[in-house]
């Protein structure tokens, strides 16, 4: 019957009061730990995805939105910008810019965003190919590991994109068939959840979209003719299936042929249609290696440009100001915007933290009160223990250990609660933002929480323990 066991027996003698103290304690500790976990994992995600990007250039609007959409892929883009406006930045000879990565976005496949870009993006996120290769031609895609896992895509699979960022069958670009040519190794960055393709693929899917062709609804039959998969068989000999505008150049696709503005023009020229074996190719005409963006027409659009400077100097800072003041575009600094986001989150977090501390103080109070009241009920038994030869310090320790046990159990339960609810949260967060969170990440701060809990247990128990230690046997027993 050592001290620990005796303390334990004393506590379990009043199970409800014990339960109350532990539950309150666990609630406070759990909330604090959960905040730690959330904050850590959010910051971890944000910082990993900064990827050394110094500036993001995009359409005017909220800078935070621009950063969130083009770096973290959680918000809608602010709009598009014209390629012509950013061409100077894409020039590899630009004196300030080390890398400039053009991004086209707006479509998804089963909520995974499809990003039109070039392979430089792999370098800045330090991503590696796990299977297959990097996308080169239009409508070839290299997908993130999470996309492969969750959407069940394998090398060689094809799929159609949907417009927007939510899954909606009505918004499908049914005629666009992307083909998976590569899968990235898990990098822990946002690339894990992206589908990467060429910028040109976007134009090829989208240019017909906004084209103001009045016949868009009237010529359904024409549109049907676009089912390239079926037509591919007779492509070689019978070259007249309506809607295909192979012969025409891009300049006149709007007036004559109104098959919803399919812009096969440029590509078609470079293709020898007669001899080409179209079997199995859905979009053979479009699956070409695109030209560098610098050589594309200036009126084409992209969504954003990620910029890495050669060095951060005042000229680089000036460039941001220049863009913001003198162009129709905006330039935002990711680090600044993310710090702004932190400070926004911080006020909410602050409130929760205060709540957690209040709960913890109440729980310490509950331990204090339950020990004190049990002391009152147990004063004869404590006096008796002194009669049986127990010293003052032993009684002091007995009560202190009771407080420590309550704190330790409260901490343990809180620990489980925080990781358990983080685990539950993780599923929701993954659904909402596509980011992977985990309940099974353990932080060094949690040791601090443990130490804090034990300290609090001692604080709550020290007065009752001192009172127990001072038990005067004779006085107590005389009052019976």
């Amino acid at each position: 019957m050592n001290l620990l066991r005796l303390s334990w027996k004393n506590l379990t003698f009043k199970p409800l009061s014990m339960l109350l103290s532990i539950t309150l304690f666990a609630l406070g500790v759990g909330l604090i730990s959960l905040l730690f976990l959330l904050q850590h994992q959010l910051q971890d995600k944000f910082e990993k995805n900064l990827a050394g990007v110094d500036l993001v250039i995009g359409a005017k609007g909220s800078p935070l939105q621009l950063i969130l959409s083009s770096m973290y892929h959680v918000d809608a883009p602010t709009g598009n910008i014209e390629l012509g406006a950013v061409k100077p930045f894409l020039n590899p000879k630009h004196p300030l810019i080390e890398t400039a990565i053009p991004l086209s976005m707006g479509d998804n496949y089963r909520t995974f965003r499809i990003i039109g870009t070039n392979s430089d993006i792999l370098d800045i996120y330090e991503a590696k190919i796990a299977q297959g290769k990097v996308w080169e031609r239009n409508f070839e895609v290299t997908i993130g590991s999470k996309v492969a896992r969750d959407a069940g895509l394998k090398l060689g699979d094809t799929f159609s994109s949907s417009h927007g960022f939510v899954e909606d069958d009505n918004l499908g670009h049914e005629h666009t068939a992307f083909k998976v040519v590569g899968i990235l190794a898990t990098s822990g960055t946002v690339l894990d959840q992206l589908i990467l393709t060429t910028n040109q693929s976007y134009w090829l899917t989208h240019d017909h979209g906004p084209a103001p062709t009045p016949a868009a609804t009237g010529e359904e039959n024409d549109h049907d003719g676009h089912d390239h998969g079926d037509d591919a068989h007779d492509h070689g000999d019978e070259h007249d299936h309506e809607g295909h505008d192979h012969g025409d150049d891009a300049h006149d696709h709007g007036d004559e042929h109104d098959h919803e503005g399919h812009d096969h023009g440029d590509d078609a020229h470079e293709h020898d249609h007669e001899g080409h074996d179209h079997e199995g190719h859905d979009h053979g005409v479009e699956k070409t290696v695109p030209k560098p963006l610098l050589e594309e027409p200036a009126e084409k659009q992209i969504t954003a440009l990620l910029v890495r400077f050669k060095g951060r100097n005042y000229q680089a800072l000036n460039m941001q100001r220049n863009i913001n003041e003198n162009t129709e575009m905006q330039a935002a600094t990711p680090a600044i915007e993310i710090n702004r986001l932190y400070s926004l989150m911080d006020s909410g977090e602050q409130a929760l933290r205060i709540l957690a501390f209040v709960i913890i103080i109440v729980s310490a109070l509950s331990i204090f009160i339950s020990l004190l009241s049990s002391l009152r009920e147990r004063k004869y038994e404590l006096a008796l223990m002194r009669v049986m030869g127990s010293s003052h310090s032993k009684l002091f320790m007995l009560i202190l250990v009771e407080g420590l046990i309550l704190a330790l159990l409260g901490w343990a339960l809180g620990f489980l609660v925080s990781h358990g609810s983080m685990h539950l949260f993780a599923g929701q967060l993954a659904e909402a933002y596509g980011y992977d969170f985990s309940g099974w990440i353990f932080l060094p701060q949690e040791w601090l929480v443990l130490l804090g809990s034990l300290a609090l247990g001692i604080v709550a128990a020290i007065l009752p323990a001192m009172k127990a230690g001072q038990t005067d046997i004779s006085e107590t027993l005389l009052k019976e």
Partner: protein
């Protein structure tokens, strides 16, 4: 062997309420009755004998040890080993079973657990079937027997009993007194019973009147 010399006690440290006690000498193995009316200081004397209080003057000597000269842990340890006390109302550590209470008693006195000894004593006091019950689950008579068991488990040289029978009926009183005497004799311990219970007068030859 228990003896006191010039023992006095002052309540609240003031000289106005000072109790003066007669000298007592109880040879080892003898059974004594301490009689007195309520308020005569019986219980105070018992607490002085048990080392639960410090006298204003005088000495308490148990088997050659002047316990009023012991302090702190040494006194606690001596009390745990050498003195067994039975109180008017029996108190136990409520969260422990009777058997665990006895084990705790040995442990607090720094003695080895000795499960055999506990079993034997419980059997002698006829509460074996209650050994795993919590104290509150026992009847008053059973509780008093268990309290005696606890007073005896460390084989003390002095057994002090404070009104051990005041809450008991005649039948239980006889039983408890018989047990106390038998156990004290078996352990060759000095037994001092403080009481105002006249039923006990006939049972004890040695008496001190306060």
């Amino acid at each position: 062997m228990l003896s006191t010399r010039n023992l006095s006690f002052a309540f609240g440290g003031s000289a106005s309420k000072t109790l003066q006690f007669p000298d007592i000498t109880c040879p080892t193995g003898e059974h004594w009755l301490l009689l007195g009316q309520s308020g005569s200081g019986k219980t105070t004397l018992l607490h002085l004998l048990a080392g639960l209080r410090t006298p204003q003057s005088g000495t308490v000597n148990i088997n050659g040890t002047a316990i009023n000269e012991l302090t702190g842990t040494a006194l606690d340890r001596f009390r745990g080993r050498e003195i067994g006390v039975v109180f008017q109302q029996s108190h136990f550590v409520r969260a422990l079973s009777i058997r665990e209470n006895l084990a705790l008693c040995r442990q607090l006195a720094g003695l080895p657990p000795s499960s055999k000894k506990i079993t034997a004593l419980l059997k002698q006091l006829n509460i074996t079937d209650k050994q795993h019950d919590l104290p509150q689950e026992l009847s008053v008579g059973e509780q008093q027997r268990a309290a005696i068991a606890r007073a005896l488990i460390n084989e003390p040289s002095l057994i002090l009993a404070d009104e051990p029978t005041s809450a008991l009926d005649d039948k239980n009183t006889d039983q408890v007194i018989d047990l106390l005497k038998a156990q004290a004799t078996a352990a060759n311990a000095t037994l001092v019973i403080v009481t105002h219970d006249n039923r006990l007068k006939s049972v004890f030859e040695q008496r001190i009147e306060l």
